[in-house]
Point group: C2
Chain length 252, copies 2
């Protein structure tokens, strides 16, 4: 009885916090792409630092957690440092000995997505960081490209305008050859078609060009072919879906 009289919060003070990095589905209706051990951990958490609270709540709710969402904390990372609110949530959780879940809109937090600053904070404060397994469009696109997976670079977004994009694509083509490295980048769905057009105009015929759309989703479409082969094919318009692009020329 004496033990039970100690408030839970105080008992928890001695428990160290773990920051769990939680992947979320990257295509519609694909909760099955998360391993059960990862969703089981999420169901145990009640403090979340997230890219967007609304979708994070929706995701956690879909896992049927044992406590009501109203008793959970969802703090948005915010677009710019110093991240005051998220940092407050982080330190309050550490003080209470509570674990924290970090999640982004889709895919892996901190990889082509916000979250890295919170992970860096955890390392600085000696809080254990545990990444959970789940879908990453970058990793899946690379795996499915047939290009060099021993050496690769991800560049984020390339310039939006055609002439600058063409120039950058030529630079990536040279980097690929010089370093024998797969070059990857991302683009918003509504610009995917333009990227393919510029790439086929710009890159050399024997350079391999890859497009991976709606990975893990119902419209998944992954193609990776020499530019010359792409040009010979009747290319259907790309769907307005998330896309990863890859460029590779054997070199080294």
């Amino acid at each position: 009885m004496l033990r039970l009289s100690v408030p839970l919060a105080e008992k928890k003070l001695i428990l160290p916090t773990t920051l769990y990095l939680i992947p979320t589905p990257i295509a519609e209706n694909t909760l099955h792409t998360l391993p059960a051990y990862a969703t089981a951990i999420v169901r145990e958490l009640d403090v979340f630092i997230v890219e967007r609270a609304k979708t994070a709540r929706h995701f956690v709710k879909s896992l049927l957690p044992p406590i009501p969402l109203q008793q959970m904390t969802f703090t948005e990372i915010g677009e710019h440092p110093p991240l005051t609110e998220a940092e407050n949530t982080f330190f309050e959780a550490v003080k209470a000995g509570k674990n924290i879940g970090l999640l982004s809109e889709a895919g892996c937090p901190g990889v082509a997505d916000p979250g890295a600053a919170i992970v860096a904070l955890a390392h600085r404060e000696g809080v254990k960081v545990v990444p959970l397994v789940g879908p990453s469009s970058l990793l899946l696109a690379l795996m499915a490209s047939g290009m060099n997976g021993q050496r690769f670079t991800f560049h984020g977004y390339l310039p939006a305008k055609r002439p600058e994009l063409a120039k950058e694509l030529r630079r990536l083509e040279n980097l690929a050859r010089q370093n024998d490295q797969t070059q990857m980048f991302i683009e918003t769905p509504y610009r995917a078609q333009m990227v393919v057009e510029v790439a086929l105009e710009t890159l050399q015929a024997d350079t391999i060009f890859g497009v991976a759309q709606d990975i893990t989703g119902a419209a998944e479409n992954i193609r990776s072919l020499p530019v010359g082969t792409w040009k010979k094919q009747k290319i259907a318009a790309l769907d307005k879906l998330p896309a990863i692009f890859l460029v590779y020329r054997k070199g080294g």
Copy 2:
């Protein structure tokens, strides 16, 4: 009855082949890191192209497949092109309309692991490529590093000897700053301790250095700190476990 009299093999000729890219656990006893939809697909397959047949058989057996292993094909990729045996298995499966599973020793085939040549072959032959979700030590290490996940490069293995390794680490430190890119590399377990020593001797005090060992495993250990902070800490000897290393300096 007429339909049933058509041999199965012939009926299957009209079914297109899919090449499934199958991740395997990266730490001991971590089958739980694979999502159930991925293992369900593996259980349906009976043709596998693999890095090493012995461990691939062991993995497939652990999923309790409905048909005996003796009735399955496990063909090793082989170290060097022209990959004759694996290509034969590939074309036989395509001819029979059978799906194929591609898997490496641990993690994701084609990413810091063999398999890319088979994926490239599939694209060339118009065979659908479907990557399945599972653990990748590179992706998990990057996610857990708190470094830049919007831009990063993976370099594979760095030189083994200390002076050349130090020189290469200085080059990566410069690349990180110039391109605002996280720099990643891999090393065999027995050389992990040496890499940490050389990195702490070589890199600047405010450069962030990260080590991720035994990711998803019982001895998982992920640390990411400025070199100056690493030096001030009493650093325990690294376990002889698979390790990913990361270097980052803010730049751009």
